[in-house]
Symmetry: C2
Subunit: 263 residues, 2 copies
DNA sequence: CCCTTTGCTTGATCCTAATCAACTTAAATT
DNA sequence: AATTTAAGTTGATTAGGATCAAGCAAAGGG
């Protein structure tokens, strides 16, 4: 009822004024602009981008952004909250593909097939910016720096998945969880949040699934890390008390091939 | 010294006329155009793209396209032959990230950091098209369909790596090798080659490294697949004698979570 | 051609993390 | 508050694949 541009979707729950207003910030005022599509654009071009962005009211835990198989129409950017993407298998199982924090773009894998090959599910109350892709492409043809940024973001996604391949291909369970926690830490820090003190919006089951480990293993590792004074964990809340040790654990990848040239 | 456009690099070994001429085919005559950057472009635009493509003389086994850490200047497209990319680790080990066949683009992960995060090494005599990226970007600003195709190719790379994550995250050694062989089979078929009869340009060690398995495991699996009449293998030569059985093996992913709603 | 090197295969043993099972705690529903 | 359900932890056992060890075959080099 407030603004005249009440966006595409119907606006109920208008009693949640505070959070709803908070998410309707335009790109130009958004603190994520250094991570997101507007990076490198002139203020004028940011305005043009802004006109095609759709901002819905907040989604809640369990809501879907899209399902595997859906026609690809838009990219989705997390504004606040978090989202998991996963590949559902016919038998009801799933493979978690990623957890997405504010500023991260979801749906980049769908451009080629014009259909989503994974599903995206909201982990907590979350605000999303929707970017209709056909309109985006029209725009990026006329804004070279937007095209450049899009190439960079796509490339970044590839580089990140490569990191993940490295992790799953070679490393131990311990390394995997350490890397996961450090990844969260770094990403939260970039967003101006505490790199040592945060809540996990995903379950142990989802962490394990993501890292290719059983729930039990994840649980045991949390216990062990706790015992080793690397962190304090209580339910979903984690406090990393020895970032250096975690980093060292990951660095010290005792990769093979160190004995090949002996006798 | 036949042609007048003797390309950027010096042209020695002109006695290798046949193969050298073969690789100097322009984009418009290249049979890979349905897989590569020219897809969807007008003949006129293909010509424009062609002017920025550099075609060197053939590279040989062990040659590098680039090293990890090199400044990013160009994308590389395999024209004939094959290339492996890998992340070298300080201790001398490496993680193989991919094997690249004709029409596949290498270097997409480097756009963001403006530096290569992996190395690319030629597995057999190989012809490469080099696409200077800054010139490519200039061009793709003026050719919407080229921008579109680049988005698609980047997206495809992301989707492929996602597939790989799924493989490494959940599947057994058997599944991994079967998936690997089928992937090769499909990709060769798309290129007009036999999907059942081919040579592996990479070693067992490299296959194992890529799939997150020990060499010994790969060797044992080849033996087992042979015993099960799924393939005939002799050294580097493979003939897949039961594609359906291999497909079935991969499909029948007995993913967990089938017992959760019982007692 | 012999000799070394490199790549591959096969067998034996070990170890990490999965699986199975039981129990605890927290959250949701009544 | 009582009951149910879901999530997490801990222990015991097992299995799949890594590692260790040895031998063989092909390729390369003098």
């Amino acid at each position: 009822m407030a603004g005249m541009k009440s966006s595409s979707l119907s606006a109920m729950h208008e009693n949640k004024v505070i959070s709803f207003e908070a998410i309707r910030i335009a790109c130009r005022n958004c603190n994520l602009s250094t991570l997101c599509l507007p990076l490198g654009l002139t203020p004028e071009d940011v305005e043009r981008l802004d006109t095609i962005v759709r901002r819905s009211r907040p989604l809640h835990r369990g809501d879907y952004l899209f399902h595997s198989g859906d026609r690809f129409r838009s990219l989705f950017v997390v504004k606040t909250g978090s989202v998991k993407t996963f590949a559902p298998s016919p038998e009801g199982g799933e493979q978690v593909l990623g957890f997405h924090l504010p500023g991260e773009i979801i749906g980049l894998d769908a451009i080629e097939h014009d259909a989503h090959s994974c599903s995206a599910k909201v982990l907590e109350t979350t605000a999303i910016c929707e970017v209709p892709f056909s309109r985006f492409e029209e725009l990026s043809v006329t804004i070279p720096s937007l095209q450049h940024q899009m190439y960079r973001l796509l490339s970044k996604e590839i580089a990140q998945e490569t990191e993940m391949l490295l992790l799953l291909g070679k490393k131990s369970a311990e390394d995997r969880l350490a890397t996961f926690l450090l990844s969260l830490s770094h990403r939260l820090q970039k967003r101006g949040l505490s790199p040592t003190d945060f809540y996990l919006s995903m379950s142990r089951h989802e962490i394990g699934n993501y890292l290719g480990l059983a729930v039990e293993t994840v649980s045991r590792l949390f216990t062990r890390f706790h015992e080793e004074r690397l962190l304090v964990v209580d339910r979903k809340h984690v406090r990393l008390t020895d970032l250096d040790a975690l980093e060292a654990m990951v660095q010290a990848t005792p990769l093979e091939d160190c004995r090949r040239r002996l006798p």
